[in-house]
Symmetry: D3
């Protein structure tokens, strides 16, 4: 699969959570994070408007996906019961939810040519995690 | 007071908290934040080593101040009982604690010429808050 | 006037314009710019909620001010007829319009304690301009 | 194709344009943008000087390519007549022009080992687009 | 090889060196650089803790690798005798040393599932170089 | 002195040096740094062109000042014999040299209304130093 073109949009979310496992040290305590979220849409070709995806519409969909997560304690979310909500894991959750929306047509018929979605979560100025998947 | 020279060092902290008051909307729920913290030391003159403050030592003191706050739920901290731990408020807490350490000599005798300390907390790529005070 | 606390919010606008005067060289041609806009609100004290200004509300007001400017050719705007819409000048326009809104109560009664507003427009990764004024 | 090494250089351009199509909303009006441009050169191996490409020379070629685009209204450029000059499209234009120069020897004989060129255009702090191609 | 997940950590090093070859122009003189270093760990799957690698441990290993290079004149380092220590070359040195540590178990048994390591060295706000390799 | 308007331009320099004094620890060894340099020009009013200073001309003057410092070992520079070339000190050197040029008319007659010059040197992603002076 060759994906030549890409578009990236950015937003953020702010959550509380705790992580289980000795590896996490003090992050086993209830704490929180701002994740600055970059979503990249990849495509082999541009559509008739000369775009991969409309930046405004992509931004709206990202905001909608993040609104179901932000300003929450993820330890209390039924979707994540018994799951370590690490930065890597959350990158996958966001990528999968955006992929579902593209497949459901939320970004328009043209967006069906999108070949892959990548998500990067910046958790501080010195650490980030990402997940990339085909559509 | 003229303060010509400055040195800034950066670190971060990750906390959970909730905010009380209608103005905060969804941030009234328990959530969290990464704060990327910039501390600026201001001085009228350089010391005999040609510095405002040793960057390594300043970084160590900042880390020490932040270690008493990070990976915690601020709603459970006795120091902040009944207090809205807004970004502005936390900037002041950090600036005051660093000022105390400078006054106590933790940054060395030469650091006593420092005239002011400013703290900026970046809570996302689109928002920050700060507090600046004389020593 | 001592202003200890500050809050900064960020947004952007995208405009076309041309500049008159030999000093501008090729920028005398019709071209354009993205301005990433930082607005800083300064205050001597926090209000009863422990904030300088509500970040959400400040962001909404900034977006509203920018919506009257963005996606336009400033050469055609009656407000700027015969005026060089330099980055410095636009920083003042935005600061003045936000100051008017604060004075009109758009940011709430508590926001009347805001002492100064500063605006910085980043026009590229290597240049920016700003304007700061009291309220 | 395995491309292990990369070098990236950055510059910017400032243009006016309008976009045709309902999807663009207010961006159908004449407006403009600053694009901060990152060009990445990829190679399987380093040359005899231990580089992918000379950063100074790469920077000069990028500046030369951008000088044919910057401080212009792209709606008036014959090269782009009837074309939507989206960020994605412009990334391809710049990548193709740099590829032509590499193939013509402008970056030196050694630069012929460059395997791919990628271009990212940052149009604001929250959106970018890119294009990557083999040589 | 499909590598879906990634984690990136950042640190920096400050070195002196000179480069031999006409292509380097004034950089043939003894000068220096700060390299802001991003190391990315890639993996097909998460481990039992839901991570690619522990961010704290990865940060410690990066610091350890950089401590053998920083605050030195690379022209005097036996390891680099007769070698042009370009940014590209140093990216490979750091990536290889981190790969060795992963293979030796320094990042834990779980880190053995890491499939690739990428290193990017930012040498200024306008130039960077990178190297990526499988494990 | 009220300085309402500002313009900032950015460039960088890459130097080798060593620092004398126990406080500097490993930085007593010959090492180096990239300094990303921001110069801010402040003014009470705009000139007839609606600018503080021409950004192109300011950028050229900054480049000229930096060209006398970059790609050098500062330990060998006669100007700095016996002096610790700390980040703070170099910020002052650059600010003073730019002030001299403004006073000599290098930035044009209109630039004589500039009231102050500030210089910030970013030595890594976590540390910077600055110096600000009136003209």
């Amino acid at each position: 699969m060759i994906t030549l073109f890409s578009v990236t949009v950015r937003d953020h979310l702010m959550i509380a959570h705790s992580l289980r496992g000795d590896v996490f040290g003090p992050a086993q305590r209830l704490h929180g994070a701002t994740y600055v979220v970059d979503v990249t849409f990849r495509s082999e070709a541009l559509d008739a408007d000369n775009i991969v995806v409309d930046i405004g519409r992509a931004t709206d969909e990202l905001r909608s996906v993040l609104s179901a997560l932000t300003y929450r304690n993820l330890d209390d979310e039924p979707d994540f019961a018994g799951i370590n909500t690490t930065t890597e894991f959350l990158a996958k959750v966001i990528a999968d939810r955006i992929a579902e929306r593209i497949n459901a047509g939320a970004l328009g018929e043209n967006a069906r040519h999108i070949a892959a979605v990548g998500v990067t979560l910046h958790e501080s100025h010195v650490a980030s995690a990402g997940y990339e998947r085909p559509l």
